[in-house]
Symmetry: C2
Subunit: 259 residues, 2 copies
């Protein structure tokens, strides 16, 4: 790596061979020197899990010609932590995670391994972005979204981000055939309604597969969900200070202070 170009750390949660990370690497090599540290297998929906009860493997791999790449047996957050402690020559100028196969808009941000990798980088003080395409297919069209990925990454490199803030970027599969532009949004208020599929194994015991239905409770037109449904790229400034500052006063009025 040369000293003049930006240094960019790349991870994801779909695994180091996923088409989404390949597309992300292709864009980032146009912007700087890249280091890839990604899970050796899919780690979707891992949230901000870390591996504390078993050892972790980290192995250099040669998946992408000329690109310094490592696969890790742990979670997306483990990947970022190992990169920081063992691999990076200096603090990167940018960390990007993805491109996830599937939406991480609205409440999905909470469950997302892609976003948690970016959150971990942001906690460590790197400008960080999670990218997701609203298409779960392995052969999704990552080519046509590359200009948006590049533009948002370039602006982030140029402007930086204040400590405590990262970006959650989701890209639509536009119903109109054409992405209309980029909207800065808030996270839509939504949830998954659980619907476990109950089955019986060959030994007569119950087991369950998690399924669910996405419920958007939010009618606002300033949300990521609205943007995506209207063929815009959504960019949500996201933070890891979970304090509900507005409610500190409310809870202070409770009868908690005298014994």
């Amino acid at each position: 790596m040369t000293g003049n170009k930006p240094l960019i750390l790349i991870s994801n949660d779909d695994g180091i061979t996923a088409p989404g990370i390949k597309a992300l690497i292709e864009v980032m090599t146009e912007l700087g020197d890249v280091l890839v540290v990604a899970p050796d297998k899919p780690q979707s929906a891992m949230g901000h899990a870390i591996t504390i009860n078993q050892p972790i493997r980290l192995t250099e791999v040669h998946v992408y010609p000329g690109i310094s790449s490592y696969q890790c047996s742990g979670t997306p957050v483990d990947c970022v932590k190992l990169a920081i402690d063992k691999l990076l020559p200096r603090k990167p100028d940018l960390m990007v995670s993805g491109i996830n196969h599937g939406s991480n808009a609205s409440i999905n941000v909470i469950y997302s391994g892609t976003m948690s990798a970016a959150v971990e980088a942001a906690i460590d003080g790197m400008p960080a972005i999670g990218f997701s395409l609203c298409d779960y297919a392995w052969d999704a069209d990552f080519e046509s979204i590359k200009p948006y990925i590049k533009k948002i990454a370039q602006e982030t490199l140029k402007r930086g981000l204040p400590y405590g803030t990262l970006l959650n970027v989701n890209l639509p599969v536009p119903a109109s055939g054409q992405i209309k532009g980029i909207k800065i949004c808030r996270q839509a208020q939504a949830k998954w309604k659980e619907d476990f599929d109950q089955r019986i194994d060959p030994f007569g015991r119950n087991y369950y597969w998690m399924t669910g239905k996405f419920i958007n409770m939010d009618k606002g037109e300033d949300t990521d969900q609205w943007a995506l449904e209207n063929d815009y790229v959504s960019v949500v400034p996201t933070m890891f200070d979970l304090t509900d500052h507005q409610r500190i006063g409310l809870i202070n009025q409770w009868n908690l202070h005298e014994n």
Copy 2:
């Protein structure tokens, strides 16, 4: 379960037999009818992970006499989702998670399975509280903190919580020998500095154990970390809308809107 008493859902991340959940069950049975659904093994640091690539087991167990209890092979969030879909007769009046063996104050909230179980309950619309004791020992003193657990749970049952807000409650091991009271706080700005322990296995290959050092960058006296270090119970109103609303304007000024 009778219809008149509050219905309380209990989970944790240390597993259904942990002393912490036993103490929590003992307090909650004084306040209402309880249903326990907790992991069948320790699931610390699982963050908001869910199980989507393998089936989940849910088994009724008789660990606590007279208490309806189930163990689940999945994550803390899986436990809550299964309870909602398969076990609860109605929406509970309260969901409590813990008592965790170890702090979930400041940045630990991000990694915590205990808090993620409570977050999942809050997403579903239940008043929810995660309780943690700042002592990792299996034989920690849960007895002396019970009055604080009870008081906070009682107030939450009485007052409710607005949708989108839950409570992250941490209890100190007071240096002075006596807890001084309860403080409503914000999450301290802190992080873990990674320090992986690198070893070589019998086959000559590297592996890593995650270790780290907690770094508190926050000098504020209104934080959870300050409260705990000064022998107060910390209560942080916590939210799962991760939008950094204050930064929407900032990012809107970026050069992202024209093509």
